[in-house]
């Protein structure tokens, strides 16, 4: 990381205006982790860089190490995710996946697995019709990569087998004796689904069929689990997922 020039393949997680006509772009790369870079003049209509530094871009980028941020010197598009044009409902899903990754990856350490997960998630949004289940599997897999997975086998307080309440705070099950007020009741079928969503490839998540009740439990479980263990605070795009879909 000491040369003046470097290259990386990256996914654009977010962008914000900088100065008169520039953009500050948050990129996720496998090798160099997550970092911000400047796209000079990218807000001008005639900028050749503009299209390739917008959110949902996947490209080869070259950088020049600048004083504060690396400056993007060239961009070559590998893939543009455009499903949100035909299906605006997918827009907040794509943004949400990017925001989760942005919050979870803290800096410039290699994060190839996370990079591949997001790339696959964004690809699947376009090819798969069940964005809800892809999103839940994506959340659980991301938490798993960060070292957190729910444990379902026995009561995490006393060890009793066959516990039926999930405690997001404990990250595991509690039996009826040990259960606190914030537990979520979960049946064996739903536990099996959660386990499959973590272990099966993301591309197979859409094969899982959920009942309305299971869907509700799954939403509560993932939301509370992420909130407790990933310390992500308020995720704005998740709130909007609900607004879009009502």
């Amino acid at each position: 990381m000491s040369q003046r020039m470097f290259k990386a393949d990256g996914l654009v997680l977010r962008t914000r205006p900088l100065g008169e006509a520039d953009r500050l772009v948050t990129l996720l790369t496998g090798e160099e982790g997550k970092f911000e870079a400047v796209a000079k003049g990218a807000r001008k209509m005639k900028s050749k860089l503009a299209a390739g530094v917008d959110i949902f871009s996947y490209g080869h980028y070259t950088f020049h190490r600048g004083k504060t941020w690396p400056v993007i010197t060239s961009q070559d598009s590998i893939e543009q995710f455009t499903w949100f044009r035909d299906n605006p409902q997918l827009y907040p899903y794509g943004i949400y996946m990017g925001e989760l990754v942005d919050r979870l990856v803290s800096g410039e350490e290699p994060c190839t697995s996370t990079f591949n997960l997001l790339l696959e998630g964004w690809r699947l949004l376009g090819s798969c019709d069940d964005s809800y289940i892809i999103c839940r599997s994506f959340e659980l897999k991301l938490a798993h990569l960060a070292g957190y997975s729910p444990h379902f086998h026995s009561c995490s307080a006393c060890g009793t087998a066959g516990a039926s309440k999930f405690s997001p705070r404990q990250g595991g099950m509690l039996c009826t004796h040990c259960a606190s007020a914030d537990v979520i009741s979960i049946d064996k079928g739903t536990i099996a689904i959660v386990e499959r969503l973590i272990s099966a490839p993301l591309s197979q998540a859409h094969l899982i069929r959920l009942s309305a009740g299971q869907k509700k439990t799954l939403s509560r479980l993932t939301s509370a689990f992420l909130a407790y263990h990933l310390d992500l605070g308020d995720i704005k795009s998740r709130t909007l997922l609900k607004e879009y879909n009502t």
Partner: protein, 199 residues
């Protein structure tokens, strides 16, 4: 560097302007200090006057001097056509073309889930109500040609679909005066999509 308190306060205030960082703020502050007092007063007065005398049109959201804006008040304009834009300044740019004679609808933003801006924040139901209440026949969506602007355009089109009016998106093409070889592939592919017959 230790600033005298009034200078520090001025720099802090100037930093709140979009696109102005501490360095530019310092430059602006020293500019003001070098100006004659009357000039500083007239600059400050212009800001307050603009703020006091300008408002946003309750019907279309454009910049207005009185209640309704000059576009909504103009009986010569085509009231069956409404152009949807993100910002009040976009109206001024479209007016400069001299080509558009319909009305406007200013969203004051675009759908941006990362900033917590969703359909409710843009008050998109107001646009739907406006279409329902008037005889509008065509909505031209002129949001920015980027991800946020396109997602917003798609969402609005979906909202208006049940009303069976004509909804169009302004065309995306190549920048005038440029060479094709310098166009990026996304712009070029959308220019192909938006091609038209030469008559």
């Amino acid at each position: 560097m230790a600033y005298p308190a009034p200078l520090k306060k001025l720099v802090d205030v100037l930093c709140r302007f979009p696109g102005v960082g501490p360095k530019s703020a310092q430059r602006l502050a020293f500019f003001l200090l070098r100006c004659p007092r009357e000039e500083v007063v007239s600059i400050a007065r212009a800001m307050v006057e603009a703020k006091d005398q300008l408002t946003f049109c309750p019907d279309c959201g454009s910049l207005a001097e009185k209640e309704a804006c000059i576009y909504c008040n103009d009986s010569e304009r085509d009231r069956l056509m409404v152009c949807v834009v993100q910002e009040p300044r976009d109206v001024l740019v479209l007016e400069k073309t001299g080509q558009y004679r319909g009305l406007y609808h200013v969203l004051h933003g675009a759908l941006s889930p990362l900033d917590g801006v969703g359909p409710d924040e843009l008050k998109l139901d107001r646009l739907v109500d406006r279409v329902k209440e008037s005889g509008i026949q065509e909505i031209i969506i002129a949001t920015n040609p980027n991800v946020e602007g396109d997602a917003t355009a798609g969402y609005i089109a979906g909202l208006l679909r049940p009303l069976s009016i004509r909804v169009t998106r302004i065309a995306f093409g190549l920048p005038v005066g440029g060479d094709i070889e310098y166009a990026d592939e996304l712009t070029l592919s959308r220019a192909l999509d938006g091609r038209r017959e030469i008559t």
